[in-house]
């Protein structure tokens, strides 16, 4: 091999590996490509050749041609269409499910209930979510049965013929109520508070005692659905050797693969998950939903099975953003300097944990805001209610607490007669400031950003 190298190649090799001769192996990685950097923004940091460059998205061409294949654009020979029956009641015991009439509908190839699922629970941190509800319904969007049929229409019609008898149970919908001792328990015998975090810094009571004024406020945000334009969709199919392939809109295919293997009681190496181009995720497609159902229907029917959520299912059965009830108490000096802050966050987790623990942690850490606060006590709870499950969504709890601490800041500024910009400049993080969890912060540009923004939109100009 080495004899066949040209002189120029040998020269290149010598540059790459100056210490070794040409007889050595080629380096494991090729030399870095040389980019000519012509930045459009002169002072831009030149750490990466990407900054300041114009680029065309690699996927833009096929998107614009309408040739990108999303899940619903794929079809396999013999493929069936699945539909899931939603409970429609928030809290109930399932007495019995009669699927005989649905099975008799011409064109129906398989019917599935929760009792047929090998391991009927999943979730990224706490496995509290059934694939299909079997003994108990925890929220109205729970699936209770599923049908695979030759057309979507037949599947939908067959769902109507499935009769489910429920024994209604008491339900709780308000997270504050759900924390009370006598509240109905969503997952008995466990209590409704399933995750908790506390951050303590300094002595918050001493901080309040030293303050000139103490302000209190309660802020609350609502449940938000991601509404990707492409609904959740997947296709499941088995090969003749009992291996499962799932095409899915899942954003986390390796986690999904593990969850599929677990719920189906299969070795992980029997499961393949193919992630396709996704038509919007925003955190809402981060865990399995209907995939195990489709896999079991496909096994029963011996055919590939596709499932696409309706827009209604996106709202009632997919994850959403946590509503949070946020109580703030802040002690300040007369000049607006914050001395102490106490925060209590109650995250409405809905019926299942999903990504609540991640959201809870992030919301708690960020709840003090980008401000230097010596005495802090932040406490956060994630609470079960009989509502649509909440999970990951852009920011993992950060937008909710931002709404609260900035609203609180405006109220304090107004009460003290201080300009809202000034009170923020007085309290904002500096280079080297310490975060509530003790992290030393670098590249801090809060004040510079605020000033630049204020200048750009004319904050200091007189307002009419």
């Amino acid at each position: 091999m080495s004899e066949k190298r040209t002189a120029a190649e040998k020269e290149t090799l010598r540059e790459i590996l100056p210490e070794v001769g040409t007889e050595h192996r080629l380096p494991a990685t090729p030399p870095p490509a040389q980019y000519s950097i012509e930045t459009l923004v002169p002072e831009v940091r030149q750490q990466t050749p990407a900054v300041g460059q114009r680029a065309t998205r690699l996927d833009a061409r096929l998107h614009g041609l309408g040739q990108t294949k999303y899940i619903d654009d794929l079809a396999f020979p013999g493929m069936l269409h699945a539909k899931i029956k939603r409970a429609g009641v928030a809290s109930a015991r399932i007495v019995c499910i009669d699927t005989r009439a649905a099975e008799a509908v011409p064109g129906v190839m398989a019917v599935l209930t929760g009792r047929e699922i090998p391991v009927n629970s999943f979730g990224p941190s706490i496995q509290d979510q059934p694939v299909l509800a079997d003994e108990r319904v925890f929220h109205a969007g729970d699936g209770v049965a599923a049908v695979a049929a030759v057309t979507e229409q037949i599947a939908t019609e067959a769902l109507e013929r499935i009769v489910v008898e429920y024994e209604p149970l008491s339900a709780v919908f308000d997270p504050i109520d759900a924390m009370k001792e006598d509240a109905p328990r969503v997952h008995p015998p466990a209590g409704n508070v399933y995750a908790h975090k506390v951050i303590r810094k300094g002595d918050v009571e001493r901080g309040f005692a030293e303050s000139d004024r103490v302000f209190e406020g309660r802020y609350a945000t609502q449940m938000v659905e991601h509404v990707p334009i492409e609904p959740h969709a997947a296709i499941a199919q088995w090969d003749s050797n009992g291996r499962l392939t799932v095409h899915s809109t899942l954003g986390r295919i390796t986690l999904g693969r593990t969850d599929l293997a677990r719920t189906l009681k299969l070795p992980v190496n029997r499961v393949q998950v193919v992630g396709t181009i996704v038509g919007g995720n925003f955190g809402g497609k981060n865990e399995i939903s209907q995939e195990p159902v489709l896999a079991l229907l496909a096994r029963k029917a011996g055919r590939p099975v596709k499932g696409v959520y309706t827009r209604r299912e996106e709202f009632v059965a997919s994850t959403t953003r946590h509503p949070i009830v946020m109580d703030y108490k802040t002690g300040v000096r007369r000049d607006g300097r914050i001395l102490a802050r106490k925060v209590r966050l109650v995250l409405d987790g809905g019926a299942y944990c999903s990504w609540s623990e991640t959201t809870l942690g992030k919301a708690c850490i960020l709840s003090a805001g980008p401000y230097k606060i010596e005495h802090l006590h932040a406490e956060a709870f994630a609470v079960y209610t009989n509502k649509t499950v909440t999970g990951a969504m852009r920011g993992f709890g950060a937008p909710q607490v931002c709404f609260a601490y900035e609203s609180h800041m405006d109220e304090i500024a107004a009460a003290l007669g201080i300009d809202p910009l000034e009170i923020r400049l007085l309290n904002a993080f500096d280079e080297g400031s310490s975060s509530p969890t003790g992290q030393t912060l670098e590249s801090v540009v809060v004040k510079a950003s605020l000033l630049k923004a204020a200048q750009r939109f004319g904050w200091r100009e007189p307002r009419s």
Binding site: T56, D59, R61, G64, L65, Q153, H226, V227, P228, I229
Partner: protein, 172 residues
């Protein structure tokens, strides 16, 4: 069954479908034209937009039988990969598509607008795209792309679309 004869992307197509079949289902499932997407199925999101006799319509709200004898243009009928239609080119150059799911619908709404109004105001562009929801990109870049595409279609030379470089994927 409804017996249909429809001009789709310049070609006469026939089909025999159940009367409840929507135009969207006809295009996607019978003709294999999956560029029009099913997003909401109730005419809110515009992902299924196609052009029928020059008008941008939600294909999920139109029965296939209502399109009988009419002329339908889908995203597949707009242009080949090279050269692109000026609207597609402008959307690519101006990074107006992220996940791309709403893209075909938005581009066809823009085409229906520019076919009838070669020099629209920003307000007119906004109005034409009002029925197309996007959750990733937002509308600023789309409106900019439509404006540039309009210039290109009118024959103006100094446009971003005309100066566009070829996409990276075709060089691979």
């Amino acid at each position: 069954m409804s017996e249909l004869r429809i001009m789709v992307n310049g070609r006469v197509r026939t089909a025999s479908v159940p009367p409840e079949t929507t135009l969207l289902a006809l295009l996607r499932e019978h003709f294999g034209l999956t560029g029009a997407k099913l997003g909401c199925d109730v005419g809110d999101c515009g992902a299924c937009t196609v052009i029928v006799d020059g008008h941008a319509v939600n294909a999920c709200l139109v029965l296939a039988a209502q399109a009988d004898g009419r002329e339908v243009v889908t995203i597949e009928g707009l242009a080949p990969a090279d050269p692109l239609h000026p609207i597609q080119q402008a959307f690519e150059t101006h990074a107006s598509l992220q996940c791309g799911f709403c893209g075909p619908g938005v581009i066809l709404s823009a085409k229906a607008l520019l076919d009838g109004n070669p020099d629209p105001t920003t307000a007119e562009i906004r109005d034409a795209l009002a029925g197309n929801l996007c959750r990733c990109t937002g509308y600023t870049k789309m409106i900019e792309a439509v404006r540039v595409a309009a210039q290109a279609l009118r024959g103006d030379r100094d446009t971003g679309a005309a100066a566009a470089s070829p996409p990276a994927w075709s060089e691979a």
